[in-house]
Amino acid sequence: MAEFDQPPLSQPEPQPTGFARGLSGAAVLAALALAAAAAPLMADGSALHRLDADPVAAALLDGRGSLSFALLAAVLGGALGIGWALLAGLAGTLVGKGAERRIVIAAQRMAGWPLALLVPLAGGLLGQVWLLALVTALTAAPAVAALAHAELSVLMRAEFLTAARAAALPEREVLRRHLIPNLMRPLLAAGTLALPRVLAAESFASLLGLGLPPTLGSWGASVGLAARLGDPVAFAPPALLLALALWAACAIADGVAAGVRKP
């Protein structure tokens, strides 16, 4: 029986640093969401009017609009991006490598365009929230698709798939037993990239007054309004909460990506 003495000189790999950040980001975002959900309770049970409420409660109320819209658009954008990458992979298997390359290059090019400018345009022209969510999702999708496809193509070349084929596993089983379980986390990591992007795009549009309708409330809209009125007390809470939420969303995306990366 073999023994393996002689431990290597190098120290074991430390926990990826992104992990702790991701965890704290998730905690901060959860706390923000809870606080925003509990904000109406701060108004003694009666209906709360945003303009005469105290600035912190008003900012938390705005968070309901911002966060729920961001969540909706991020889920849509993540799904669109992942679908885009999977479509490219499928085209590569069924049609040819050329088709796959064209689809991915389109995503990579579009990820470099200033697509966030489409959001205020859509906010001004369309007016409906679900259409705005769709457009916001589309602005985040190319970046997600490029990342997801990179992960997908790394996995498709993995040696353990060859090992599975050497064990005469049919392609269907290779897909079910090896490909899908190993694909879940990288794709999820690519999908979470959409969250900070859509939150930033929506806040930018609302700041210009071309984002979410005023009835929903949004941090960006409140910041813009306070800046126009020159009211520092009304300006600070939504601006700080928005910055915090953006940091948390970025930290989550980083953390999930760091968890996927192999040492």
């Binding site: 002689q6 000189l9 040696e159 090992a163 050497a166 064990a167 596993l169 037993r177 090896h178 190993n182």
Partner: protein
Amino acid sequence: MNHIAAKPAPVETEALTLMLGDRVLLDRASLRVERGQVLAVTGGAGSGKTALLGALAGRPPAGVDVAGGVRIDGHLLIAQGGRLAPRRPLALQVAEVVGHHLGLDLRGALRRMADGLDRMGVPPAARRFDLPPEQLPDSLRWACLFAMAAAVGPAVLLVDAPAAGLDPTVRLRLLHRLADWARADGVALILAGRPEDGVAGPADHVLALRRGRLLPPIPLRAGPLEPLEPPGTARLHARGVGMSYPLAPGPRGEARSLAVLHGIDLDLRTGETLVLLGETGSAKATLARSLLCLPPPTAGTVVWMGRDLMAAATPPAAGEEPNHGGLRRARRDLQPLFPDPAASFDPAMTVGTQLALVLENLRPDIAADRRDHRIDEALEEAGLRPEAALRWPAALTAAEAAHAGLARAILSEPRVLVADEPAAGLSAEERERFLDTLMAVRDRRRLSLILATERYGEGLRDAHRGIVMLAGRVVESADAGTLRTAPLHPYSRAMLAASLGGRPALEGDAPSAFGQPAGCPLRRRCPLAREFCAQAVPELEEVASGHHVACHYWDTPAEE
């Protein structure tokens, strides 16, 4: 006072002790290296070679405590991998070091560098050092670093893992050049590296760093563990196996492809061990995979026990029933060993689950409740404890992963193992242990074995027959004894020389797959090359019974 006292040696240590935490890396070593002497220090991964060089240079790595006395003259340390900035032009980086040591300006430093490059045998046409290191081949980077040392001219040169990762023939050529320079200029040269890196070849003295001591190295096993049994009849036949990869279409839309394997014929008999020898770009790994049809080759046929493997492995046309039975039967008999065993395990499943999956798929005749027992047996035979089945692939060391890969390969009770550099990532002792296990398994099960490797001596040691490959072609094939003692092709001779630590008679680097010269692929490096070599690719001809050579001038001495 004695005025003609002998000068002290440039490197002397007195009871040098190195500690990493509470682990002793080096225990009271006394070392003395004279001028013009070449010392090689070998040792496995983590044995403390880098720490020793760092301590000699006065800069031990963080966390290493040094005790004892070190006396060293003006020295230069070339660190592992050369430590070059990837994006700055190489000439600038090197000239800065030379200029710093000699107090020269850039122009003067570059002129000194040119002299150094001459001494390292880099032809002026190959000096593309205005490129950043990441765009240069490794061999040129190392030649440039060695030339830097020659330009600086220190009293002591310390080199950590020199030319590691290069092909053996290229590595030994560079190391011999460096050693020649050190001897001629009276420089004390210390080379540290793993035993398999060939640093021992050009050295005057070799010390192995083992369990905290500097000891003479243990010679490696030269012959087979047990006498080899004569092989039986041929079962695996490959005829005209070729592989080409599609490239992007040309300017007029014509399809283009890159052929990496050119019509290989091969027969493997039962119980025979056939070793495929070749360096980077020889397509030995491609051939190994083509024999397994993973993926199937683009030309030729592979027949296992009368059944055409390629027909079974190609996906059936629409409407046809896939021939799973035939392929499964062949897969059960032919099992691969992968060059990176850790990557050949799915990180999302334990080792045992994956082995069970293999067994379920390839041996449906074994009842489900007997599978665990079979897996335990295979793991023990491969040199692991049965508990290894419960571990995740990420928790295995490289050596354990290699043994687990062997366990997976023998699980289905195959008849042939096709191993592509199965111990590539392992070092010295681990490597020997793994190869011994592999050979013991082979002998016990009477397996046929195809072993692809770049280590000439080690590969032929346990083999019946060898095939030397170069740029996708067979250049020499003979029984192992002939190849070990008297190969005829210049490339085989160079590989033999490199494996013995000698000076290979080949110049320059192997050409890239995209820039193969016309005619013989070796002609730009070959000492026997003449004009005719550019005109025709040499065919394999039989020069003795069972001995084939593909060279126009194998029987002609080199031209002066």
